[in-house]
């Protein structure tokens, strides 16, 4: 384990609020009204009965639960504001709820841009291995979601294969996805226990977390919620994300959209806290909008996304819930002007929103549908830039620099001053933004940032060797995958 290796995090000193206190309260009250009168659908009798016992109004026939306002508020208050997402290497542990913003890979992109051909195709487990190795080497990336869906295995084995690829190729925190049932979740928990060194060791240092997603409007699959409960019972944090799509699966107006997303998330969190009180979770309001012409996801990500990020952060703060939010949104297919502008603006929204423990969508393009290796490095560059600008301006005697201004005097220069050398490395330096002279740029055949990022990806993949798992642990993980496969074959 490399003691000197660190992860970078965003520390905030700026907060922009887009909602007034009154606006925030109206959204909150409307959300409680939705949960009380409309409720949410959860297709699990076990979970519905537990919610009924805790005060919810349950209709088993329609699979609907309606929550009294006090129940929602009481249960959401049980969710801890602070906890740890541990990593195989303790130097890489994430302290959630401490004001840090950690960059995370995104989850299960349906396609990948092939590094050799530049064409998109279905991703494989080998791709996830490579992407995880890359992220292990990039210090701006702190948290690993399985950034591509492993499509060369049976769907019910995706979760275990992804978790295996992640655990075996990085010492950073791993979030498991594609756990579509309690049984899938159990297999992942078993894998995490093997790597952590037992149930109690895992509970003390949860090196794996889960995340589950609602289906807009106002629906959770029962199996998915049971998987969340399975994680929580094992002591693994399990977050919720809602991707309700404005105009299609949520209202068109931003306020209504926020109410719908908020209701899905608070409903999910209240459910988890009812079944496993005190379970560590997070609030994941993912914005999505509908393209009015095509009916698909709006790929021209724009100002609504920015405003949504600011408002969502205010809601998370109001509930004192850790937040996971999309840091990047673009409809661009490649690393062009559109991608750069949209990724920069969306990340800036997250940066000034004053809240976001986990910042997702790193490495994605085309509406988060496609993963590209180069995007990880380019997004990391934007993150690094953003971290720097959030540091603000230091104003003390040393920084005011009177002595050096006096020493240089009129007509001199500051280049050779010790003060310059003492502080120049505080200035931000890009790795991929072009800074060649025009002549140098032409002599180098007009490289674009994406070309430089491409080269760097290849270097990292050629050189970087993540800390491997113990051989015996590795064998045990493969045995669990095998057992899960056989169980699947027996039970369908």
């Amino acid at each position: 384990m490399s003691a000197e290796r660190r992860i970078r995090m965003m520390r905030r000193r700026l907060t922009i609020e887009v909602l007034s206190d009154d606006d925030l309260e109206r959204i909150h009250r409307a959300t409680l009204t939705v949960l009380e009168r409309v409720g949410i659908a959860i297709s699990s009798e076990r979970i519905l009965r537990a919610l009924g016992d805790a005060g919810g109004t349950v209709d088993l026939e329609t699979g609907r639960v309606r929550f009294p306002a006090a129940m929602v508020e009481g249960m959401v208050a049980l969710a801890p504001s602070r906890y740890m997402l541990a990593a195989r290497d303790p130097a890489l542990d994430l302290q959630i709820g401490e004001g840090n913003g950690y960059l995370s890979l995104d989850g299960c992109a349906a396609e990948i841009v092939d590094l050799d051909t530049g064409r998109r195709r279905l991703p494989t487990k080998a791709d996830l291995v490579q992407a995880t190795r890359l992220a292990d080497a990039v210090e701006e990336v702190s948290c690993l979601w399985p950034c591509v869906a492993v499509t060369d295995v049976q769907p019910h084995l995706q979760g275990v294969h992804q978790t295996h690829a992640q655990l075996a190729n990085s010492t950073k925190h791993v979030t498991a996805m594609s756990t579509f049932s309690a049984r899938d979740a159990r297999a992942v928990v078993e894998m995490a226990r093997v790597v952590a060194g037992g149930s109690e060791a895992l509970r003390a240092r949860p090196i794996v977390s889960g995340v589950q997603c609602s289906i807009g409007p106002l629906t959770y699959e029962g199996d998915v919620m049971e998987a969340a409960v399975e994680f929580a019972e094992a002591g693994l944090p399990c977050g919720f994300v809602a991707m309700a799509n404005g105009t299609a699966t949520a209202p068109t107006t931003l306020a209504g959209h926020l109410v719908a997303v908020n209701a899905e998330l608070l409903g999910g969190i209240a459910t988890l806290e009812t079944l496993v009180p005190g379970a560590a979770t997070y609030y994941g309001p993912y914005r999505a909008f509908t393209d009015l012409r095509s009916g698909g996801i709006d790929l021209a990500w724009g100002p609504e996304g920015f405003l949504f990020e600011l408002a969502a952060a205010q809601l998370a703060r109001r509930y004192e819930l850790p937040m996971n939010i999309l840091g990047f949104g673009t409809g661009a297919k490649t690393q062009d002007w559109q991608a750069g502008a949209q990724h920069a603006i969306s990340l800036m929204g997250v940066a000034v929103a004053g809240e976001a423990d986990l910042i997702s969508a790193t490495g994605t393009g085309y509406g988060s549908r496609v993963f590209a290796f180069e995007n990880v490095l380019l997004d990391a560059e934007l993150f690094d830039l953003t971290c720097h600008l959030l540091e603000g301006i230091s104003v003390d005697d040393e920084a005011l620099a009177f002595d050096v201004i006096e020493a240089v005097g009129p007509g001199g220069h500051f280049l050779a001053q010790a003060h310059t050398r003492a502080h120049m490395r505080e200035l931000w330096m890009p790795r991929f933004f072009g800074r060649d002279t025009w002549e140098g740029w032409e002599a180098a055949a007009r490289p674009e940032p994406r070309d430089l990022a491409h080269e760097r990806v290849r270097e990292i993949l050629a050189e970087h060797q993540p800390e491997p798992l113990d051989e015996e642990v590795e064998r045990e993980l493969l045995r669990i995958i095998d057992a899960h496969q056989k169980e699947g074959a027996h039970h369908g």
Partner: protein, 219 residues
């Protein structure tokens, strides 16, 4: 290696000006071969600083600071070197900001970077009259003359200098490189200069090429 030469190298590379000057004085006063001080102490260290700049470990302000320290040390070593009948090393580059222009920072950066590539740099300063430049070329016989101007209003002076050198019969004996914000390759060609570089590091590559230095292989 002499411990004090090693101390000089260390002081120069860590930009410890007072120590560098003190050790240089000690060495020369103590009778150390000035050639050894120049080559082993100063010139090789400047080359090492150039290597560190190339590797991204040192930045231009550090190179400029090193060049300023180098100059102070050189002022101590050079008289002893010449008195001992030694030769100054490397190709000589004469630099000047042309008449009417007080902006000499870019030219100074070029000079600093050139020193890290082993060039001996003699700087005539700023607002230098054409006649002064011509006389200096006659006396010092530099391999390269570097002419700088920042302003669109002073850049025509570069042409005047070249024409004056031509008239004095000195043009063929010196390579001329021009630079400054308004200068382009097209301008350099138009006025009959031998080359142009858009930044201090690129000026080093140009100077190596103009001097016919084999290290050019890099570019």
């Amino acid at each position: 290696m002499d411990d004090r030469i090693a101390a000089l190298r260390e002081a120069l590379i860590t930009l410890d000006e007072e120590t560098a000057v003190a050790v240089t004085n000690e060495l020369i006063d103590g009778g150390t071969d000035p050639q050894a001080v120049m080559q082993g102490g100063l010139a090789e260290t400047m080359l090492e600083i150039g290597r560190r700049w190339t590797a991204g470990d040192m930045f231009l302000p550090e190179v400029v600071a090193a060049a300023e320290i180098f100059k102070r040390c050189n002022d101590i070593v050079e008289p002893a070197l010449l008195a001992a009948g030694g030769k100054v090393l490397g190709h000589k580059v004469l630099t000047a900001t042309v008449k009417g222009d007080l902006h000499d920072l870019g030219k100074n950066m070029v000079g600093a970077m050139l020193k890290t590539a082993g060039f001996e740099v003699v700087d005539l300063g700023k607002d230098v009259p054409t006649e002064t430049i011509v006389e200096a070329v006659r006396e010092m016989e530099p391999t390269i003359l570097g002419l700088s101007s920042l302003l669109t209003t002073t850049v025509p002076e570069q042409r005047n200098v070249i024409q004056a050198l031509d008239a004095a019969g000195l043009r063929r004996g010196v390579k001329i490189m021009v630079g400054g914000a308004p200068v382009t390759q097209e301008w350099a060609v138009e006025i009959g200069a031998d080359g142009f570089a858009p930044s201090a590091p690129e000026a080093v590559e140009l100077a190596l090429r103009l001097a016919g230095d084999e290290r050019l292989a890099k570019a």
